[in-house]
Symmetry: D4
Subunit: 209 residues, 8 copies
Amino acid sequence: MDKSFKYNRLSKDDAAILMVDHQAGLISLVQDFSPNEFKNNVLALAACGKYFKLPTILTTSFEEGPNGPLVPELKEMFPDAPYIARPGNINAWDNEDFVNAIKKTGRKQLIIAGVVTEVCVAFPALSAIEAGYEVFVVSDASGTFNEVTRDAAWMRMQAAGVQMMSWFGVACELHRDWRNDIEGLGALFSNYLPNYRNLMTSYFAITKK
Amino acid sequence: MDKSFKYNRLSKDDAAILMVDHQAGLISLVQDFSPNEFKNNVLALAACGKYFKLPTILTTSFEEGPNGPLVPELKEMFPDAPYIARPGNINAWDNEDFVNAIKKTGRKQLIIAGVVTEVCVAFPALSAIEAGYEVFVVSDASGTFNEVTRDAAWMRMQAAGVQMMSWFGVACELHRDWRNDIEGLGALFSNYLPNYRNLMTSYFAITKK
Amino acid sequence: MDKSFKYNRLSKDDAAILMVDHQAGLISLVQDFSPNEFKNNVLALAACGKYFKLPTILTTSFEEGPNGPLVPELKEMFPDAPYIARPGNINAWDNEDFVNAIKKTGRKQLIIAGVVTEVCVAFPALSAIEAGYEVFVVSDASGTFNEVTRDAAWMRMQAAGVQMMSWFGVACELHRDWRNDIEGLGALFSNYLPNYRNLMTSYFAITKK
Amino acid sequence: MDKSFKYNRLSKDDAAILMVDHQAGLISLVQDFSPNEFKNNVLALAACGKYFKLPTILTTSFEEGPNGPLVPELKEMFPDAPYIARPGNINAWDNEDFVNAIKKTGRKQLIIAGVVTEVCVAFPALSAIEAGYEVFVVSDASGTFNEVTRDAAWMRMQAAGVQMMSWFGVACELHRDWRNDIEGLGALFSNYLPNYRNLMTSYFAITKK
Amino acid sequence: MDKSFKYNRLSKDDAAILMVDHQAGLISLVQDFSPNEFKNNVLALAACGKYFKLPTILTTSFEEGPNGPLVPELKEMFPDAPYIARPGNINAWDNEDFVNAIKKTGRKQLIIAGVVTEVCVAFPALSAIEAGYEVFVVSDASGTFNEVTRDAAWMRMQAAGVQMMSWFGVACELHRDWRNDIEGLGALFSNYLPNYRNLMTSYFAITKK
Amino acid sequence: MDKSFKYNRLSKDDAAILMVDHQAGLISLVQDFSPNEFKNNVLALAACGKYFKLPTILTTSFEEGPNGPLVPELKEMFPDAPYIARPGNINAWDNEDFVNAIKKTGRKQLIIAGVVTEVCVAFPALSAIEAGYEVFVVSDASGTFNEVTRDAAWMRMQAAGVQMMSWFGVACELHRDWRNDIEGLGALFSNYLPNYRNLMTSYFAITKK
Amino acid sequence: MDKSFKYNRLSKDDAAILMVDHQAGLISLVQDFSPNEFKNNVLALAACGKYFKLPTILTTSFEEGPNGPLVPELKEMFPDAPYIARPGNINAWDNEDFVNAIKKTGRKQLIIAGVVTEVCVAFPALSAIEAGYEVFVVSDASGTFNEVTRDAAWMRMQAAGVQMMSWFGVACELHRDWRNDIEGLGALFSNYLPNYRNLMTSYFAITKK
Amino acid sequence: MDKSFKYNRLSKDDAAILMVDHQAGLISLVQDFSPNEFKNNVLALAACGKYFKLPTILTTSFEEGPNGPLVPELKEMFPDAPYIARPGNINAWDNEDFVNAIKKTGRKQLIIAGVVTEVCVAFPALSAIEAGYEVFVVSDASGTFNEVTRDAAWMRMQAAGVQMMSWFGVACELHRDWRNDIEGLGALFSNYLPNYRNLMTSYFAITKK
């Protein structure tokens, strides 16, 4: 137990999102989530980026080849985001443009998700920790071959100081207080949490009477 | 083994869809699918109804109370469909308006999905079999409390002659031949099967070059 | 597929419940449900018996020995029910008093639950089918050693014509129409379905405003 | 549903056990049970054979080769049982000595277990059904590669009229009444059901006081 | 390995319980426990609070909206407990009344449970650690969307020094010695551990003879 | 139970194999097997076709589009097999060339595997049953979206008289007797059953000494 | 990462085994292992104690009541071991006789197993760490209510410096070199690892030829 | 969290692979992977060794006895690798030849895989950490009895500073940049990742047109 634990929460003013290699081909390798579940989580995290106006950086590996292009929804959601199509570096952190794009944001908290977890997520996560960033990996927006490789990747990252999150945890830690904007956050949850949408549907059905 | 098996396939001209009790409150009881998975499957089945222009009948139980209203997406997709808000009958087949709506379609193949499987699906399914209809239950657009109650419900229905399907199986059995409409079916799959969408994304990325 | 399927629904006037060997010792053998889940389901089925005023018959095997006494809740819920402490018959149907108690009810639909599924449930279920009864086994109020023995027992019973149900399915098929008694059925669900209770709590919290 | 179901219970006077290919090598292929679980179940079934004095027939396939010898415990438990080391027939029923050994027992109810389920169990089970025997497959004393191949094998056998059992179900159906021998059956359960043994341990600890 | 580990056990005189956002609507989001299991665990933890007379603090988020009211059982069990209906703070620790209520207890050991784990539990847990409290999260009385988000939340909390417990562990660590009160603790276990109740039922059935 | 069950075993002289839509794109939709497991099973079934010299028919759907080409291994194993690239028929049985290729084999036992189970396998399987063929579906060489759609597909096929098999069951039922060819069958098993290969490795290591 | 990690292996001369509360009643609470699996592991660990002649200490809690007596096999295996029937202390370490018995062994490495994991194992494990012992918890000979409470208990112990082991790992780390005694260790494995026994059976079958 | 984390990546010039006890007999003990999955992963890791020209050391324990010989594929892939058939040491690190072989490589990063995880992998891993090496355990090329013993072994190793990897992570961390050799790495992935091969098949099918 670390007696001097400091809880540096995610802050809208200090966080950036890195979406690494969510490419049409690579996603077909993901087997630790159902395809619907995974798609929902990735888009939910992206929606957090938009909603909280976080600097968001997109990167892909070898888009021209079998890995396939970035999924089009992400392109559409972030038309002006830095987009680094890496010519070959497996660890995105080895790409100068990528690191520069991060530096340019001036942010110190990096929220990372990608495919596959033990490579495209873990490698830049470890590099970022080493470089002095706070790193938050979004566990449910990162996918890999199976639960064994996932568990191993999580352990390796945890040991290095990475904090494991979910997209919902990211959203809540950034928002802090419902009073900052009830409708906006409600819409975000309603779009990506079907059971929350159901709660809202029932609630408004009764109260509008 | 039934030596004289007759394979009566689902036909666009002879099938109707019954969506039973997909209500905002009741859906929160479903635990044999993740909420995202279930929502996707229900909407996919509904999209099949629209795409194949099948007569579709909506029914709910006690919408005013805790069961909650029909999920709004279904209402929007079928604004003109018969909509039977049952005043109390648990088995929708006990409601004359519901049965009359079915009779009016003139269809003999009933595709049923609903919440919860062993009641809102199984009861009308058994009644329909008894009434001489062919019944196809959409397994992945019907939800219940857990896998034990699901398995029991499936067994009871199977023993009565119900055919168990998935929404994808329904779509394919209705379409019969890609040449009937490649784009339309492709769009349907792309919207509700993320991995199929990925295949298409990669394919078009390469071929457009 | 049986073209001449007849859907004989459970009827309040024709059904009886048989609770077989829900004894304190034997229940510790059950591993295909968590203890809380199983207790809840057994009491829920018993509550159905009380609510619908179905003749209910209790039986135990070797109560004095390691099998242990009937769980006290059941005794308390049915103080006047026929209670057959079998001196040794493993299949309750081999006990004349048990069969006579059933005959005396005049009912033809037998709802059976017990511990363990492949013996205390399956044996009397098969005997009852042979004797011409309609048999409905409550899958979630019957427990056994593991899922392999459960699946095997279900298959054997299904092949003999037993219908697999859940306690919730039993309640709904007996009740038929919410208008027969909204409050009573609501209370039953609220007591044994925590998520349904939550729906009601939320609903009444809003509407009482 | 079969209106004319006849419940022919297992009878001590009409049943025989066939242990098929429980060989040291082949058992290492079993992955649908843990090794401890499987060993316990196989020995439990064998112990039933001894306890109820059922004619028991052992058979192996290619003992000299990689399949390995029969597990020694079975040899020791049934030193005088017919032991057919098949020279090559995969379906034991294709071996005349095996079928003759069965005929010689004069029994009409065959209890079968073996490795692997879809071959060494299913093939003779289907042959026996065709030959007019009643067949009871002991699901938990038969093992195979994984749950997919198990489920498929069970379905094929069920469709042919095989009855799926567990070793505990076999024991109880044969014994019929505890009064036939309390101590003997208690010992059998105590040896192969650790939780039943615990019930007995607690019971006798208290009552001996 | 921490060579200088100090085992500060939970103490009746130094512990307080924080029940965070166990609201009727939010609980319908929980999918990493069955509803019965979760309800039982939450009430069991609450019963510990009552039994050990621990200061207990209730808090909710946005009770008027879709999140729904606190589950009524908790309200009834702690009619006089501080009850902080937060106007908007997602992290309860951001609410001054909540922190003041904790300070007023004078306790340094905080036992926390809530819905959902990675937000309503993890956020105040991390804040409390930072503030110098010892924090014990009750794993089985805290629920979330699925096992992936649960695992990630546990890892994040563990890394910060939170100790993961179960309600049963909490009860035992507080009680220390059965001789402090056999009947009281026995009743607590009997009410929330069905298999323990069965042990007691069997025991008293035999010994009362 | 079917008293007049006839066990028509698979015969080398009467069986043919249909490999339906094992295409590079479609296989990425399979999630009820791990990719390695599925690839192994498909190739193992194909190897059975070669080893037993069964007429084998390959068919694909829309190879030019996103579904992708037949996996190259199958093409290489069966360079001279009838290869029907269907222009659009979803049910292969709707394609005259496919049915003619089957008729030309003169075989009456059809062994079918494909992707996805509820469409590419189930549709031609049901058509073949109706046309009077005996149909054996290879459960572990057929894949689909998840276990729910698999289970539903299996139930529908079973009810129509399809027999569920595994590739190992197919191999054993065709071979009948090891003496027909020990080395050949041993090699087949060694190539596709790693644990069987290990048995052989150990065996030959010792015996060659 | 701890740069100065010291690997203090378990040593026959420095280790002692503590078997905590393996009582007939309490074991019926264990649901994270099947009963056969758990019994096998507990006896395997005990057999290690005997084989390596480790000082072994038995303790129970409230044997006279519902918790039940120590399982008789353990009593028989260690007739002369210190046996502390605690009058009420839940944490065995609170019992002076227990701690004195440990001190008397002069050992510094404590191998602990018990029921239930988060109480009877974790409490003395944490106390022992605090007291300066090296603690090795045998994960597969310790059982609890479910996997959630198990995971939480493991995390808490790991954070305090406990090392998680399996009985097989304990045996191997103590033995160090097969040459110390091939037959003895082989017999130990053969008795508690059915698949290892099968390897030996096959091996000796071939080599004795 | 370790503020001064240093990310020492695996380097082609500083890493060596240790393959420990992948023997034909021992592998039959592995039950936490399917046999096909495990074989694929072990060969994939070996292929990485070859492709990156890493010094690779093979070792076995008691090859002459029931443990069986090294699987032949590994022998063939590394005909000139140091091959230490240990005469009895369970921890390979206790064998001087083994440690000398490692020293002779001059490498400081050890990639370890073996059977079984908690012994043949964990023991040398802990020894190597103590000796000052960086240790990377390949989680999916190491197998054991079940997931409980696996989880315990991983925890023990993690606590000592071992880094958990997958073979795919190893390959990617060593390769660093696709531009170093596209074809070679593509071939490696294609051989051991069926879904990646499918991506390539589809890609080349389209682009070659």
